[in-house]
Amino acid sequence: MKGNRRRATNAIEVDFVARMLVLGFLAGMAALFFVYLKNQQHAVGNKSRLVEQELHEYEARNMALEARITSMTSRGYLQRKLDEGYIHLESVRDTAVARITPPVSAEPDGVLRTASREPGSGVIAGSPQRVLRR
């Protein structure tokens, strides 16, 4: 009778259950890890968005400051300040100018600006000889 009862009982396959449990655990861990990674990804994405935004704000601020500098150093602004007496032009005579490069005579070579000269001063202004003397 005893032997019959034992035969009627379903045998539990421990190794199969254990394998399933391990697999389930691994799958669960993988899923949790996936969720963790996804969260991290979102967090990093959010951080990069904030950094992008910050960079953008700095860029905009920089542009605004550049525009302000341009406006405050523009000819119109400086002329106005000159007229109002906030800045003052000091004339420099040719004899007080040390030329690094000799001025170029009338040639179609673009724009030249080494120094200003007083007209009719009678000196050989900026001529090669003068440069050599210096």
Binding site: G45, R61, M63, A67, G76, Q79, A115, R117, P119, P128
Partner: protein
Amino acid sequence: MKGTTGRIGVVCALLVLVFTTFAWRLIHLQILQYDYFSKLAAQKHLRCQPIPAKRGRILDRNGEELAVNIPVRTVTADGTHIKDPAALAAVAAPFLEMPVEELAGKLSPAVKGKRPYVVIKKEVAEEKAQAMIAAMEKARLRGLYLEEGSVRSYPNGEMLCHVLGFVDHSGHGIDGIEKSFDSELRGQDGFRWIEHDRKGLEIVTYRGQEQLPENGSDIRLTIDMGLQAIVEKEVDAAFRDLHPAGAAAILVDPQTGEILAMANRPNFDPNKFNEAKPEEMRNRIITDMYEPGSVFKIVVASAALNEGIVSDRTRIFCENGLFSYGGKTVKDHHKAGDMSLAEILQYSSNIGSAKMSLMMKDQKYYDYVRAFGFGEKTGIPLQGEISGLVNPPRRWDMLTKTRMAFGQSVSVTPIQMIMAMSSVGNAGKLMKPRLVLSRGEGSTPSETEAPRQIVREETSKFIANALQKVVSKEGTAPLAAIDGFTVAGKTGTAQKVGPHGGYLNDRYIVSFAGFFPAEHPRLTGLVIVDDAKIGAAANYGGLVAAPIFAHIGGRAARYLDIQQENAVAQANASSNQASNR
């Protein structure tokens, strides 16, 4: 037993039915209506975020900024995010420079109507907008958001306004270089598909397709702001002292055709273009035509000399100052008998010029006028250029030819006139005016277009020498002389044409066009003063426009450091002596 099996069968059938229904519903949602629902989801969470391109700057030839962008923000409100409009208004109003009540008045309807997008204020400065957001975060308030934008700024204000033009509120070029090169300056906006959360914040992980903006190219002009400032100051002084209807001046490099400075009065501030009057916005140098008067004598003189009809030894009888032709009398200010070609130009003889024109065939004379560029647009890249008015010979009456010789019965634009004068200083080669040096960073300067050879080099040299005498004590424009330089030029004094035809009494357009140093010209200049209020006795090109030219030329020469001709001569003599030794 049979009953039990039957019940189990029914339950199973019901379960199968239920699961089949669910399965069908899933198929319906996921497969059959996939497009519809994915579109619906996308509408809720997907958005195409525009990335605006930056408009290119406009620079002068030395890189000085003439038109720049200032970043600004548009402040918008989302009524669904605002819980306490009064508190939000109290925090934000000082940054938006508006009364608290006014802001609260804008916010309350948005909250009540649950409107998600209400524009509160445009063009808020970047710093103020950022400070407002910081203050809101500190007060734990939300509901106001910022949108990107920029406004165009012209740091020099009115200076060079007619060349630069301006843009409208949507950033499209309306006038000047801003209009002519709008597509290049504007660039191409980019975009980015983003997915956002419930709060409207981007979920970066799901960032979609993206196209970066292509910023607009910088445009580098041939204008030199140093010279422009000189010209502006002189034209300003003339406009203030002489009270004319208009005044204009232009400087050109005769060898390349590059426009170095261009100024008109009246003018306007492109930063406040909506306050400008139409007459202030007109670039008279290209949009207005006028009878040039005696400056035009260079055309008939060049043509007659080039065709061999006259020579340097030819003497023309100038009728002692009174010449009747075609029932009308032509008068000379300087009464003389015989005059050479050089003297005709020096004393600005109308009779001599008229007689020279009569020596030429109509068509040939007309061809020369057209060859000098009159009657056609110069092709300067600015809006509104006109071609002037030169009638063909078939429309001439008996007097037209003689009148044209001294600048009547023909209408030209100032830009045509200065390019024609430049050709005299450029060995008879007519250049196309250039206003743009290069487009875009790193681009090479555009090539100068092949010039048109109008007259032989010897002819233009002869005319240039004759024009030097105009700026002598005996000539009509001694006041155009520039210390240290020889100047060649010609005065023009033309009666104004009335709106209903005929000439207006005592109202003149006076001008002076010239170049220097006469031997190797570096600069050509033209000054025009329209209807100066100084009395007819003093209203002459030689008395009004010539001194302005001299002031501009003198300062420009010093600015460019053009070596004075006596200095050049002395330097050459010294070097010759040194080499002989």
